[in-house]
């Protein structure tokens, strides 16, 4: 090497070889992997054909009357017509009837708004008079923050930024830990505690240590929690008494119906194959390759899916399936330029989707035949940043 090359090599080594760099917690890696996986699904959704345009346009232009939903499968016939609709031009309807996050505000399903004293809020749910809040930032892994009834910070811990709430809202599950260890602690506590308890925030919780990749609370069934898993791992049934039981047939669990004992997610070992299983016997009720399941409807009769193809390519369209049989009930794409970031059921006939378009974001309401209206005002959005200010909070 020449003198310049030697000097270059020495400089590079001196620059970094003796620096004490902080290590990356396994938990942060796994959590980011989960975020990436979701974004990939969203990105697949971006290129969705505008098959809904023809159906949606009349309702976009006149959304004062919400169209009835059809019990018949919707014909996803494609159309060359692809009018460019701006999010701000979509008619504004009723506000969301589910709890949602608006920047740092927690907005309850009844519209009650609470401003949380935190930035970068990704999820929040009422807990023991205060709130459990998930926060993150560009250079920060997920943290779980407990706020008391005066919205004062009680503690802040590493953890999964996901909460699960039981049917009726009686119990709440969350995970903390993972900063320095590849294991997290899954916790299940009563959402409210009796007024006679002097310090409700320290009232008993059930706890179970779990591997990071199997520690995502997805649903609460009685006194047990269904913990979702990343690819390569199995979801678990955690009863906080015995060793957690792997659900052999299910890899990533995404949604749980407590009443019907249904669990929706991805087939074990086949991350591109959707499956719904009987939560009692863990038998596969149905499976469908090329789809990712998202959310069971409130009555448990339907499940929302996104077409992902082989994982790298897919139409990205939405599908609504019969939760017990897998029959396709509705199938539709997205308006050109519209990108669904998070989609949940509002009730058994409507979906809500945090949607970005150009430099705007808003919550959009979709009927099952693909018609849309806005449920919130539009907010600014930095294109491609994934940094949405609107999100949905856990639904009981």
């Amino acid at each position: 090497m020449t003198g310049a090359e030697d000097l270059l090599a020495e400089t590079l080594h001196e620059r970094v070889d003796h620096r004490d760099l902080p290590s990356t917690p396994v938990g942060d890696v796994v959590t980011r992997a989960r975020r990436l996986q979701r974004r990939r699904r969203v990105r697949n959704g971006v290129v969705a054909a505008a098959v809904v345009v023809v159906l949606a346009t009349p309702f976009v232009l006149d959304a004062t009357q919400r169209p009835d939903t059809s019990p018949q499968p919707t014909d996803p016939s494609s159309s060359d017509a692809n009018p460019h609709v701006l999010l701000k031009d979509v008619a504004l309807g009723d506000p969301p009837a589910v709890a949602w996050i608006d920047g740092s505000d927690y907005v309850a399903a009844d519209g009650t708004r609470t401003t949380l004293p935190l930035d970068h809020v990704t999820s929040a749910t009422p807990y023991r008079g205060g709130f459990l809040v998930a926060v993150t930032g560009p250079d920060l892994g997920p943290r779980v923050v407990l706020l008391d009834s005066d919205l004062r910070e009680v503690w802040r811990r590493c953890g999964q930024g996901t909460f699960a709430v039981s049917s009726g809202g009686l119990r709440t599950a969350y995970s903390t830990g993972g900063c320095r260890s590849p294991r997290l602690t899954l916790r299940l506590g009563a959402t409210e505690v009796p007024a006679s308890v002097s310090n409700p925030l320290s009232a008993d919780e059930r706890a179970q240590d779990l591997p990071t990749e199997q520690s995502i609370p997805v649903g609460v069934v009685g006194e047990t929690v269904i913990a979702g898993a990343l690819p390569g791992a199995r979801s678990l049934v955690v009863d906080f008494v015995r060793e957690p039981t792997p659900i052999r047939s299910l890899g990533e669990a995404r949604s749980v119906d407590e009443e019907l004992h249904l669990v929706a997610g991805q087939l074990a070992g086949h991350p591109n194959t959707a499956a719904v299983i009987d939560g009692g016997h863990h038998t596969v009720l149905w499976k469908r390759k090329g789809w990712a399941l998202e959310d069971l409807s409130p009555d448990g009769s339907m499940v929302l899916g996104i077409e992902i193809g082989d994982g790298a390519r897919g139409s990205g369209g939405f599908g609504v399936f019969d939760a017990r049989t897998g029959e396709v009930l509705h199938q539709f794409g997205q308006l050109a330029g519209f990108q669904a970031q998070q989609t949940v059921w509002e009730d058994d006939q409507h979906l809500l989707s945090v949607t970005t378009e150009g430099s705007t974001q808003a919550v959009v309401r979709l009927t099952l035949d693909g018609a849309i209206e806005r449920a919130t005002e539009t907010l600014p959005y930095v294109a491609d940043s994934q940094d949405v200010a609107l999100r949905f909070a856990p639904r009981p």
Partner: protein, 159 residues
């Protein structure tokens, strides 16, 4: 401890150092490493060639850096009250080396990656070409131009 966790514990420091040379600051380096490791984690079960995990991880990291740099929001200037990170703890650079580092930091991402992979990671031109997905000729010309430009900045006795 899973295979991934074992590999992470052993190899993550090397990735951190590489990321720091590519990005120039600790926060960006940590972010880059975390994203790269997350992508590796998602691909872990599909990787048959476990002997080349290091090379695969390095390729993810380098290309993630190049991709991230192209994203518009990455290049936004953020006004902050906080002082910038110090260049490094308790390391005294002589004048020549500071000039060299400033030169490296001024290079465009791909050329900087070529220099870091060649003179820090000690990869061959062919190996660098594979990591970056370019021809060995491109690697050679980018390195040559960088060295020539560096020589022009150095006093004669050092070049």
């Amino acid at each position: 401890m899973t295979d991934f966790e074992s590999w992470l514990v052993a190899r993550e420091p090397a990735l951190q150092r590489l990321a720091l040379l590519l990005t120039g600051d600790e926060h960006s380096a940590q972010d880059l490493v975390q994203t790269s490791l997350a992508k590796l984690y998602l691909a872990w079960d599909r990787l048959d060639d476990r002997d080349n995990l290091d090379a695969y991880a390095r390729r993810i990291l380098v290309n993630e850096h190049r991709t991230a740099w192209r994203r518009p929001w990455r290049r936004r200037e953020v006004v902050t009250d906080a002082p910038p990170d110090r260049a490094g703890p308790a390391i005294e650079y002589d004048g020549g080396r500071e000039v060299v580092w400033e030169f490296v930091a001024s290079l465009p991402p791909r050329q900087r990656a070529v220099i870091v992979l060649r003179y820090y990671e000690q990869l061959t031109e062919a190996e660098i070409a594979e990591v970056l997905g370019v021809s060995p000729g491109t690697v050679k010309s980018q390195a040559s131009r960088a060295i020539a430009a560096l020589r022009a900045r150095l006093p004669e006795e050092q070049s």
